[in-house]
Subunit: 374 residues, 2 copies
């Protein structure tokens, strides 16, 4: 990969919490999205790909994962280079604010003077060199004391992402000043953003000195700052569990954007770099289809090498996302615009414009007395 | 059931030959269509339903089946009331002409002076009393020496069926004179038929004295007459196999309509009754859906009691034919106009306007080295 390793030690953090209900029945409570193999040929899972991507910038034994109890052991077993002492286990999910704040407090204590970054476990970024370049720029911004984001150059007026508004004239060493974070916009507003310029997709990738982040947190949510500082102080002692159990439930359940980044952006403390890499938030079967090299008819076959594929026959199908996960033959004649996900205990056939509704179906499983399928 | 048993002994014959490729993967070479349970609640299979329907008119031990070697044993095991000596095994499929001619020759020899009928194994007729009434009328016509058909009153200008043209002024005791058999018509021609009146769907249901049929056959295809007479003469002797193997391959491969009924109709030897029962030729997944009580959204669930059904969840689906034959949960969101057939080794998802193409897929299995799925 291009570029030199930054002078400051860099510690990536990967919050890996949710199971990914919109990818059910591929994802399950015990088979979360970030442990799913994704991409052609059934390569490494999303978490593994995320770690792999960061190796160009940070040694593999610098990476941290924040996760729930249900996944901690599997992550240690399956994620390359992740030791148990770099898996920070949340007693309960509290959104990204507490998860990232805990990581910042632990890293500040264990590795004072370092830079840390936070990267979602479920993003697909095929252009690893471009990503590493953007990350190095962001680290340099963090070294200057900024709370950095890595934004992604928008290629369409996407309404499913938040946006970062930056000052196009403020560039210094690849870093731009962020003026505002913007919520997911309407199509009209998103179109305006693209026409106006100066907007990036918010990919929830953050880079900062943990001390800077914690100072900002102290100003915005003193109780959370106090809580994660207490937990971090006890982390590498026999008191960890007792302090964690007492303090964790009292933290505010809030996204890191709200509790730190937005307030900081209003005071000129936030910078961004313009990521030019392709980036997909792997949230549903449509995005899973997009990153799996659809053929000329728009059909994407998941979980298998297309060339070696004797398990999927498509006769006149279009815009299909199919996954023959059960191993049986999957034959399609004349069907269009569907996700067809065939697992050992569930077959899902879902219109592609309804893939968001998979989550509601999963949420109904308990009520239908089918928790075994969760 | 209404009406008295006819005076003449009546022997129904059920040709049960084909596997039903258009219903693959439900139907297989070893699991032919006529042994498939069909209708709500996974009731009796099509052959069983056909036999059940005939019980109102003929004793159960009068029924004959003509089939291939692959199915003979299963029919004896699974069809109620069918003994091995009433299963006539064809050495090779030769269309309906030789199959029915063989049955006529055997019945003429075993039960001289009787009336026989021929009824396909794959028809769905929910109105059993109306069917029995039409059959009794047809038997009376046969007793008068006519080659009888049971036509079905058309309810739409169907282009998938042949038609029977009859003389509306010729009625005597429920029997009408047939003037012509008509091939499957265009939509325009079918519409004309319905407007003109005097047309019935040809449901390939025939009733006649076997001696009358054989005499007609002798005039049209003397070699076939000679062949089946020779086979029938040897049937209940140790020579059956030798005669059958020698004579069978030399018979003309032809439908009974062509070799007997059409020529006979031109000479005024054919009569028909107007069947007022609902009738479905169960040929593909569309017809299978129609006879399985689709709900208000047009969705039909096969092979399971809807009320007890925890295996199919349809959220906003329309005009679906689904069969959860593998036993796993089948969840559908927002899909329309599909057949979704989930078996243990094959999942088929087929647009409902493409169900005819299932046959081509099945025919390609050998070429794809997947004969195991036939």
């Amino acid at each position: 990969l291009t570029g030199a390793t930054p002078a400051t030690s860099f510690y990536p953090v990967i919050p890996a919490g949710g199971s990914g209900k919109r990818l059910w029945p591929l994802s399950r409570r015990r088979e979360p999205k970030f442990l799913m193999p994704v991409g052609q040929g059934g390569g490494p899972n999303l978490l593994g790909q995320t770690l792999e991507r960061l190796r160009g910038v940070a040694p593999v034994d610098h990476a941290y994962v924040v996760t729930g109890e249900a996944y901690a052991r599997r992550i240690v077993e399956e994620a390359p280079g992740i030791d148990a002492d770099r898996v920070l286990v949340e007693p309960a999910p509290m959104d990204s604010g507490p998860a990232i704040a805990l990581a910042a407090a632990v890293i500040a204590q264990r590795h004072p003077g370092s830079v840390m970054g936070s990267f979602a476990a479920d993003h697909f970024i095929p252009d690893e060199a471009l990503f590493a370049e953007a990350l190095r720029d962001a680290i340099r911004g963090a070294e200057r004391g900024l709370l950095m984001t890595i934004g992604v150059e928008p290629t369409r007026p996407e309404t499913g992402y938040g946006y970062i508004h930056y000052d196009t004239g403020s560039e210094a060493d690849g870093v731009y000043a962020v003026s505002r974070f913007k919520e997911k916009p309407s199509l009209a507003v998103a179109t305006e953003f693209l026409e106006a310029g100066g907007y990036l997709w918010n990919a929830s990738m953050f880079v900062w000195r943990p001390e800077v982040f914690l100072e900002e947190l102290r100003g915005n949510d003193p109780a959370m700052h106090e809580g994660v500082t207490a937990i971090a102080g006890a982390w590498d002692t026999p008191e960890r569990e007792a302090v964690l159990v007492a303090a964790w439930p009292r933290l505010t359940k809030v996204a890191v954007e709200y509790v730190v980044m937005e307030p900081a952006s209003l005071r000129g403390r936030v910078g961004t770099v313009r990521g030019r890499f392709r980036w997909t938030d792997v949230g549903d079967f449509n995005t899973l289809g997009e990153i799996n090299a659809p053929d000329a008819d728009g059909n994407a076959v998941l979980g298998t090498e297309r060339s070696a594929d004797a398990r999927v026959w498509i006769d006149d199908g279009r815009n299909l996302v199919v996954h023959p996960a059960s191993g049986k033959l999957l034959a399609v004649i004349g069907a269009e615009d569907l996700a067809i996900i065939d697992t050992d205990d569930v077959l899902l056939v879902c219109a592609r414009d309804r893939v968001q509704d998979v989550k509601a179906l999963v949420d109904s499983l308990a009520g239908r007395a089918r928790e075994d399928l969760l």
